[in-house]
């Protein structure tokens, strides 16, 4: 059963259609990438799903509850991290979470235990009693994820969770999102226009353009459909990368590009060349640690629709 479901959801602002007859279904436990340029209607859709704004027409349901008529029930099972997430700056991280726990009716003892654990998980255990005004943007974003761990909702809406954070912070936040999705079986809706980041955590995506969902589906399937085969991305982790290995991989027929970062290689190719790549690496005395296929470059899919739209 779909946890998040919209039927012909429409929102009109002063004659401008922000969301146009959106039909969306998100299954339980999945991490859904909600893509689209700025102003495509992603945030408006999320607000309607949370009952924070009323749809002009159509219905939205989260966990089976109607978002317009039963907003409180929806808010009980849904977590929300807005784009510019804010905390009470003058209060400590722990107090901020305490407030959320109290608003959710979590008992005092259980709350303080959960808060402590949550802050440890997101790596803010040491600064739990520091005022939030001393935090960097990345730390605040991690605090928002700690808030989700305290609330433990069934569905989480993350609106541009990585905007304005440094690369290291982005990696931390994305890893945490993956982790909470896996460990707590939360359904996650991640809105973003950072495609490579979405590809790191989501398997299924929907692309929104001018209020309409132009395409949705598994990334690899979308790739096959839209790009007629398209490109595969293979990421390889080695104990050590030598120029010899890079050259050997580049020589394989079908490999388009090889990118090196640290002790990993990111290889784009026209078909699934994993066996050949493995052989090439072993033949050039490389020690293979891990290899996974990242299917298609989401950017290619996105740009195709973006141009058509």
């Amino acid at each position: 059963m779909a946890v998040v479901e919209t039927v012909d959801l429409t929102k009109v602002y002063n004659g401008n259609v922000a969301v146009d007859k959106l039909n969306l279904q998100i299954e339980e436990g999945e991490v859904f990438g909600f893509l689209g340029p700025n102003g495509a209607g992603k945030t408006t859709t999320i607000l309607m799903l949370l009952g924070l704004t009323e749809p002009t027409s159509g219905t939205a349901r989260v966990g089976g509850f109607n978002c317009t008529r039963e907003p409180l029930k929806v808010k009980r099972i849904a977590g929300y991290v807005p784009e510019k997430v804010g905390f009470y700056d003058y209060l400590t991280a722990a107090y901020n979470l305490d407030y959320v726990a109290a608003l959710n009716g979590i008992a005092k003892d259980a709350a303080s235990k959960r808060i402590k654990e949550a802050l440890e998980v997101v790596g803010l255990g040491k600064v739990a009693n520091k005022p939030v005004e001393t935090f960097s943007k990345g730390m605040k974003q991690r605090l928002a994820i700690a808030e989700l761990l305290v609330k433990t909702p069934k569905v989480v809406f993350l609106d541009e969770p990585t905007s304005g954070i440094d690369p290291e912070g982005v990696v931390q936040v994305l890893d945490l999102i993956k982790k909470i999705a896996r460990e707590h079986n939360m359904t996650i809706v991640l809105s973003s226009h950072q495609l490579n980041q979405v590809q790191r955590v989501c398997r299924r995506v929907g692309i929104m353009l001018k209020g309409k969902m132009v395409v949705q589906g598994m990334i690899d399937q979308l790739g096959k459909q839209t790009l007629g085969g398209g490109r595969f991305m293979v990421s390889v982790k080695l104990t050590e990368v030598t120029p010899g290995i890079v050259d050997a991989v580049k020589k394989i027929k079908g490999v388009v590009n090889v990118e090196r970062s640290g002790d990993s290689l990111l290889i784009s190719c026209n078909e699934d060349l994993r066996p050949k790549i493995a052989k090439a690496i072993v033949d050039s005395d490389g020690l293979l640690v891990n290899m996974e296929i990242q299917s298609f470059a989401l950017e290619d899919i996105y740009m195709k629709y973006f141009r058509e739209g």
């Binding site: 409180l72 808010k75 849904a78 929300y80 804010g86 700056d89 407030y99 608003l103 959710n104 609106d159």
Partner: protein
């Protein structure tokens, strides 16, 4: 209910630990102590222990050294206190991005404004109770007369009315914080309303009266002019509060109308210059009190309508 209590507790804590509360408290305390100090000096000189209602005269007596009585100070400062506690209640949370997190929690949206309003009212109450107790204690020490039971009851009603008066200005501040996006704008708008009612309303009332019924040579036209002036000035919550509190704190004040005022103050008056009983005083200020409460309710209703259906986006 749970949401309301949680918001209330947090806001109360914020209010009490804020610098603005400490500054306002000290300001009102200073004004209170100074005015009662001067008043006590005056009363000691002119009033003997036998005259009735010597104690509450502390609150309404002013002198040349300090031309404001305690009542005047309260009348002018409590609006500032109310506004200061309310003007950034909602828009500050909007600008900091905390409001969208707050309203996505499982609480009714009105819990947010109700909690903030209640916390503000409690803060104002605590402030007023402690200041009036301090000032009363000082008064007892200085003039050596303790308040009679009737005076104590009159002071109690003064306290209650002042809290409601403060709640009105708090409501005004919160309303502007909902209507206006920027904190500076909502602060300025609330202060503008306060300045208008505190300083310009009497001039405008005069203009209205002169336009409608210019005061001529006859006694009749003069009385009519003044009556219109009083009625017009009652649009202002400050004037309403002042009028009601004078009746309550000066029991000899027998009427709010102009004609009887002239008669009672004249030596030829056919009335005895007896003070009004408590019940009669309360009866006289009852409509004033109701109007201040009504105005507060109206402000709140507008806040509700605007806030409950508003779309809250992270800024």
């Amino acid at each position: 209910m749970r949401g309301l209590l949680t918001v209330f507790k947090k806001e109360l804590q914020d209010d009490f630990t804020s610098w603005r509360f400490i500054i306002l408290f000290l300001l009102v305390l200073l004004a209170g102590v100074a005015s009662v100090w001067i008043a006590a000096g005056n009363i000691r000189g002119t009033v003997t222990g036998t005259s009735s209602f010597a104690f509450i005269a502390l609150f309404t007596t002013s002198s040349e050294a300090l031309p404001f009585s305690f009542l005047t100070f309260i009348m002018l400062f409590i609006p500032i206190v109310g506004i200061a506690l309310g003007f950034d209640a909602i828009n500050n949370e909007k600008n900091n991005g905390t409001l969208s997190r707050l309203v996505s929690q499982p609480i009714y949206r009105d819990a947010v404004i109700n909690g903030k309003f209640l916390a503000g009212v409690v803060t104002i109450s605590v402030m007023l109770v402690s200041i009036i107790l301090l000032v009363t204690g000082l008064g007892v020490r200085m003039i050596g007369v303790a308040p009679t039971s009737e005076e104590a009851i009159r002071i109690f009603f003064f306290l209650i009315t002042t809290i409601i008066y403060g709640a009105f200005w708090l409501g005004l501040g919160i309303l502007f914080s909902i209507l206006m996006r920027r904190v500076a704008t909502s602060a300025l708008a609330s202060i503008a309303i306060w300045i208008f009612f505190a300083f310009f309303m009497s001039i405008i009332a005069q203009m209205i009266a002169n336009g409608m019924a210019p005061a001529g040579d006859t006694m009749e036209s003069q009385v009519r002019n003044i009556e219109i002036q009083i009625t017009a000035s009652r649009i202002s919550p400050i004037a309403l509060f002042q009028e009601a509190m004078i009746v309550l704190l000066i029991p000899g004040w027998r009427t709010m109308g102009q004609i009887l005022q002239i008669q009672t103050s004249a030596d030829t008056s056919f009335m005895l210059a007896n003070p009004l009983s408590l019940g009669q005083s309360l009866l006289m200020v009852w409509p004033h009190l109701m109007i201040i409460i009504l105005l507060t309710v109206v402000l709140f209703a507008i806040s509700y309508v605007k806030f409950m259906r508003e779309e809250i986006r992270a800024a």
